[in-house]
């Protein structure tokens, strides 16, 4: 089997061209591919469309997130369920770039965002959902009644690349996530042409994972990079900071 394992984050993201559409997994910390985002910031690709639940929070210390790519001038557009925090007093690093018009954004309800990527990965070009009917997000858009209830037409959201973080992987790219680390990650893997995974544990030989307990099949996974020990592994930084 051709190895899917890359020796560094830099190598794993080296060929990503300008203008790519990249899904960034994670919900809060779990599943967020901090190392891959950091590598992409160093790689420098521009004109990116980044898809994620959020653009990153206002927490200190700052972690590598979509907003950090925005700050680095690499992002043209963001597709997310937040362009601002729910609490008006929390100011997200991203928000000013959007408000000033430097970066475009498409605001999508979280479940619709997940389902649009699942649809892309399932060959479904479009589907109907009750979510957002009657809101500003549905203005001027196509709706249709099913069983008397108005539904909004939503389109698949395909990705060029998915960046995800998994707990375990085998050499053929089968992935297992731990607890709430899973979130958007399997859907982004399905929706993407190329899925790049940062893996917390040592990459296992094929056969080490229970076939019934794999969350993402290796047919959706092209590249694996082992997360090094702290402090390079980044995660630990936040853990240490939290202890203070």
């Amino acid at each position: 089997m051709r190895s899917k394992t890359f020796g560094s984050f830099a190598e794993a993201v080296a060929d990503i061209p300008d203008g790519s559409v990249i899904g960034i997994g994670g919900f809060a910390a779990p599943g967020t591919p901090y190392n891959l985002i950091k590598a992409l910031r160093e790689q420098g690709a521009k004109g990116l469309t980044c898809v994620g639940n959020t653009t990153g929070g206002a927490h200190q210390p700052r972690m590598p997130d979509i907003a950090s790519l925005v700050e680095n001038g690499q992002v043209k557009k963001v597709i997310a369920s937040f362009t601002a925090a729910t609490r008006p007093t929390d100011v997200l690093p991203f928000t000013k770039y959007y408000e000033s018009g430097e970066v475009e954004a498409e605001l999508v309800p979280q479940g619709t965002l997940a389902e649009r990527m699942r649809a892309a990965g399932a060959g479904i070009p479009a589907f109907y959902t009750p979510t957002a009917v009657g809101t500003e997000l549905a203005e001027g858009r196509e709706t249709r009644k099913f069983n008397g209830r108005e539904m909004l037409l939503e389109y698949a959201l395909p990705l060029d690349y998915a960046f995800v973080r998994a707990h375990r992987a085998d050499a053929s790219g089968n992935l297992v996530f731990r607890l709430t680390q899973r979130n958007f990650c399997p859907l982004m893997a399905m929706a993407a042409k190329v899925c790049i995974v940062e893996v917390e544990e040592d990459i296992l030989p094929a056969g080490a994972l229970d076939p019934d307990a794999v969350h993402t099949s290796g047919i959706f996974v092209q590249r694996l990079v082992k997360v090094p020990a702290a402090p390079e592994g980044i995660w630990a930084v936040r853990r240490e900071e939290r202890k203070k």
Partner: protein, 232 residues
Amino acid sequence: MSDNSARPIHASAPSGAPATGPVKGWDRQQMADRLAREFQDGWLVNLGVGIPTLCSNTDIGDREITYHSENGLIGYGPVLSAGQEDLHLVNAGGQNVSLKPDSVTVNHADSFAIIRSGRIDVTVMGAYEVGANGDFANWKVAGQKGGGIGGAMDLAACAKRVFIILEHVTRKGAPRLVPSCALPVTARGVVTLVATNYGLFAPTGQGFRVVELAPGMSFEEVRAATGAPLEG
């Protein structure tokens, strides 16, 4: 699954109103408690970030509630203190929660399949405004470009019941219970119960019916602070 029954009920002053001598109104925990007492045995409940989270502190006896978190967690227990937490396990507010024996994790599409198919018995959310017509607004403030939706629109459109917790008036004293929302709505005609620091109310289409007044609040006082007709 009332694991939180031993937790103290918060006894802070009513928020949004000055603490003046005798108890007047509900504090944040009491607003949450009042809604939580509506939860029925066996319900699947989704609690929004902020005050709604406090519903899980309420003692509701031996009624079994399963909490659903939209990031793919079905069944979870109390927030853990620093050092005790599992960093792979967070609720929708990013808090490190604990597992219950029957907890299950799923991906985001499966989590919202549960929401969209109407299996959430109640979602409890904060809001800026609630309309007498059952609309509510909680994702965008006036004049803002974009906003913060998260899972709110999915939950609001699809849960069997939508309960709202909010301060009865703004900091400037303007009513938050209004005939219809001025802000962009999160969903239309879905709210069935609203807890404020002044009491518990049900939108009726034309106004709000008083289900219960908080201690020390008079009907007249609440009517004056409500933007839509108050029904006794």
